[in-house]
């Protein structure tokens, strides 16, 4: 933009550039989240001391606290001028000896890289002594989002898998599941996907990420198909090339139609028995439809507002449409997953139907930009959202279903999936509950 063009932009719009968006995380948080999801990993931060708070304060996990897996060099200006290479080596190797991790994630900040410090070179020098993969992911603070970091880390880790080993027929890997915490929302999602793929005669392999330990992830060579969820889509082709196995790009298995489509595609790609698949899907659909029909009749609030990262927004919206709800506003919480166009395409794919053309879509706005929306100002609506910067006085008046990342108020001790057939029913139940609390 030229200076002249810039000066023509309204001050309100210029200020938007400086506001903090609802989802502000950059690559670092994605790497933090990925490392947290591998129980025997450690994350070495070659960063200033304040940077460690950019990860641990944003994960609220009641089953597995996040800070114990992190170690840091707490580099200072003086260290940068002297020898910060040795700080990384000391920190990584000391913690490797003490904790015996299955993988060590390493990252640094843009500031340190700007000093000309060659992090990659430092990691290569330490790797022979490390005793486990050292997965280095650059996390510039300028651009990208948490999902970029998650995908970058996943791809870097895939580089440590020995793909030359033979795959086992019927074993499927999953790439690109943002496993934020060890609570019974994610646990139930993993369990539900496992249930439906095993029901059609397939076997789960390495699932990036699902709470599996590093060794299990590094055994991804056993998988014959890599199912790629939208969060990892940008690396689908690269993974196919690296692994020599097909990358099957799929939307999230959400809602009745979305789950059916997902399972059909996965089964076909992995060579599952068609008749068994069809029989299982028929039975599941019948059961799920019956329950969703009851939900449709019970949900009193008809308007819904979805606030999620693009793939999850599409999945939640698909279920909402199947439940006959009116989708008025969708707020997308990412910078990297395709925005409004991708949301509409994904929604059309998942539902298999035409999408209403009156949905208002906002791409990662700040709270002040959307706080005046009728759905967020107490107008009757169900809101499916993670914990965002909502004024407490305002949020207490709303029917919010907390789901997605970050979840800081809602904790799960009982299985509450949102993926698969079971997820469609459980989420419909949560919508019914939120609606009932209103009336």
């Amino acid at each position: 933009m030229t200076d002249e063009e810039h000066s023509k932009v309204k001050p309100e719009d210029r200020l938007k550039e400086f506001r903090i968006p609802l989802m502000n995380h950059t690559r670092y948080f994605g790497v933090f989240m990925a490392s947290h999801s591998i129980p025997d990993s450690i994350l070495v931060l070659h960063k200033g001391t304040g940077c460690k708070m950019k990860g641990s304060t944003h994960i609220a996990d009641k089953f597995h606290e996040s800070f114990s897996q992190v170690c840091w060099t707490e580099v200072t200006g003086v260290d940068i001028l002297t020898d910060s290479h040795s700080m990384i080596e000391d920190t990584a190797l000391t913690n490797q000896q003490r904790r015996k991790p299955g993988v060590i994630a390493v990252t640094t900040s843009s500031v340190i890289e700007m000093t000309g410090f060659d992090m990659r070179e430092a990691i290569e020098a330490i790797q022979p002594k490390a005793g486990c993969p050292l997965v280095y992911v650059p996390t510039p603070g300028y651009e990208g989002d948490a999902y970029d970091g998650l995908a970058d880390f996943t791809m870097a880790m895939a580089g440590f898998v020995d793909w030359s080993m033979a795959p086992e027929p019927g074993v499927i890997n999953i790439f690109g599941y943002p496993f934020e915490r060890y609570e019974m929302d994610h646990g139930a999602n993993i369990r539900e996907l496992k249930r439906i793929i095993e029901a059609v005669g397939l076997r789960p392999g390495s699932w990036f990420f699902s709470g599996q330990k590093a060794a299990q992830l590094l055994a991804a060579h056993t998988g014959s198909v890599n199912v790629v969820l939208p969060y990892f889509k940008k690396y689908a082709a690269e993974l196919e090339k690296l692994s020599g196995r097909p990358s099957l790009v799929q939307d999230l298995p959400m809602g009745l139609n979305g789950t059916t489509r997902w399972l059909e595609n996965v089964s076909r790609a992995a060579g599952a028995d068609e008749q068994i698949t069809a029989r299982f899907i028929r039975a599941e659909k019948e059961k799920t439809e019956l329950l969703l029909d009851i939900a449709k009749r019970c949900i009193g609030v008809k308007k819904i507002c979805v606030i999620q990262a693009t793939p999850l927004a599409a999945g939640c919206s698909a279920l909402a449409l199947e439940l006959g709800l009116e989708l008025e506003s969708v707020i997308l919480l990412d910078f990297s997953l395709g925005g409004g166009d991708e949301f509409l395409s994904a929604l059309a794919r998942i539902t298999g139907r035409d999408i209403p053309d009156n949905i208002n879509i906002y791409e990662n706005p700040s709270w002040s930009e959307i706080s005046g929306l009728p759905e967020l100002s107490g107008g009757p609506a169900i809101i499916i959202s993670p914990a965002i910067d909502m004024e407490k006085s305002q949020s207490s008046l709303l029917n919010i279903i907390e789901l997605g990342s970050p979840s800081s108020n809602m904790h799960m001790i009982y299985p509450m999936p949102y993926l698969g057939y079971g997820g469609a029913i459980a989420l419909a139940q949560r919508i019914m509950d939120a609606s009932a609390s209103r009336y």
Binding site: L15, H25, T26, T49, K54, M114, G141, D389
Partner: protein, 414 residues
């Protein structure tokens, strides 16, 4: 030098930017904060804490291209002008970062022109995370930021005290002081809104837990308003609460009135403490410090050791569990530091939070006093945990604390 500093410290390192943002996130008031850095630095904000409102925080969201083009200060000036024009806060705080320091942005002088143009206080702080700083210094700087917004002219109120750094107590302290003829002018904790800080110049005495925690404003108030400062203990337990009240009373020469004011409340607390002290005599408590970066005033004060005296009063055998490097040299320095602080408790050092469980298992502790966030690590050891900062002040608080400890020891805690 860094090594010596690391070895001597009892608390964790802090980042001034992060610390000030956390402090300001929970400070109510009509001000805006601008973080001058790339986008990721705004993720130090503890989103979701009570009082936090993202509408007050902005970030210059510097891009690589801004850094390469040398246009970062222009971007900051534009942000300041827009915030002033559209948000119109009473003050704007601008914080630097590792990045702004590395590229040499002089935000303190560079914003003078913009500040003059918008006729609004623009307070800029060079706050890089690459400098070693203690949590104590963060609290000190935060207090100064609040004080700088206060009016320079104020008539002091006689027999009034500013209680700086004490946790809110529900009114008992103010009530007792009032009964002795002393008014609380400002009661300040980390959660106090800006208007409470603005009252400071009207107090005739500052009472603090730790002079070094508020060194900047203490000096300014002395020079600008002649307000003296008195260090008093945290009013916790009977002995701590006695010393707190009698210390303030002695300054105002109201010892007799104070003795009268505390008499009834003190009696019940003293009897309860005496009875429990007999029951708990010799029980072992692990008192943890250095595990979490804290900007709560009374936990940051005296390196987190303000409550040791209370457990001693209850006849607990107190062992300090200190997180950090367990090197012999550090043991020596820590020992010397504790001696200088007048703390003669035994101590053990564990290297990081994961190692806390083994430190707890070493000596059969009956109780551990540490941050709640360690609950998952402590749980397998079966040592009952009381959350750091959950003790209440005053004589009434004393009864609450005894009940809390008793319930925790017996496993009845809710």
């Amino acid at each position: 030098m860094r090594k010596v500093f690391d070895n001597a410290k009892l608390a964790q390192h802090a980042c001034l930017l992060e610390g000030l943002c956390i402090c300001l996130a929970r400070t109510g008031g009509d001000f805006a904060v601008i973080i001058h850095s790339y986008r990721d630095c705004a993720n130090i904000l503890p989103r979701g804490v009570p009082g936090y409102s993202s509408d007050r925080f902005f970030c210059t969201n510097l891009r690589e291209s801004d850094v390469m083009a040398g246009s970062t200060m222009e971007r900051l000036s534009e942000c300041v002008r827009l915030v002033a024009e559209l948000e119109n806060p009473a003050a704007i705080y601008v914080f630097g970062s590792c990045l702004s320091e590395l590229i040499g942005d002089d935000i303190e002088n560079g914003l003078a022109e913009a500040a003059e143009e918008i006729s609004m206080p623009v307070i800029a702080v060079t706050s890089s995370g690459l400098d070693d700083i203690s949590p104590k210094k963060v609290v000190d700087r935060h207090a100064d930021l609040m004080y700088r917004a206060a009016s320079a002219k104020a008539e002091p109120i006689p027999f009034s005290v500013n209680l700086i750094g004490f946790p809110p107590d529900g009114g008992e302290i103010a009530g007792i002081l009032a009964a002795a003829g002393i008014e609380v002018n400002a009661g300040l904790s980390e959660k106090s809104p800006m208007p409470e800080w603005l009252k400071l110049p009207r107090g005739s005495l500052n009472a603090v837990l730790d002079k070094s925690l508020f060194s900047i404003i203490i000096e300014k108030m002395k020079n600008e308003h002649g307000i003296p400062t008195l260090e008093v203990p945290l009013p916790i337990g009977v002995s701590g609460t006695d010393d707190f009240f009698m210390g303030i009373a002695a300054h105002f020469k109201k010892n007799r009135e104070m003795k009268e004011a505390i008499r009834d409340k003190r009696k019940a607390a003293a009897a309860a403490v005496s009875s429990r002290a007999e029951e708990w005599n010799g029980m072992k408590i692990a008192y943890n410090i250095g595990t979490e970066r804290e900007y709560n005033h009374h936990i940051t004060a005296k390196s987190g050791l303000c409550e040791v005296g209370f457990f001693r009063e209850l006849n607990f055998d107190v062992t300090l569990l200190i997180q950090g490097s367990p090197e012999p040299r550090r043991r020596f320095l820590v020992s010397r530091q504790l001696r200088e602080m007048g703390i003669d408790a035994g101590f053990d050092i564990f290297v990081d939070n994961v190692s806390m469980a083994s430190a707890l298992r070493k000596a059969k502790f009956n109780l551990v006093y540490c941050v709640e966030a360690m609950a998952e690590i402590v749980r397998p050891t079966k040592v009952p945990l009381i959350g750091l900062g959950s003790m209440r002040t005053g004589y009434g608080g004393c009864l609450f604390n005894l009940e809390l400890i008793a319930k925790t020891l017996s496993g009845r805690r809710e």
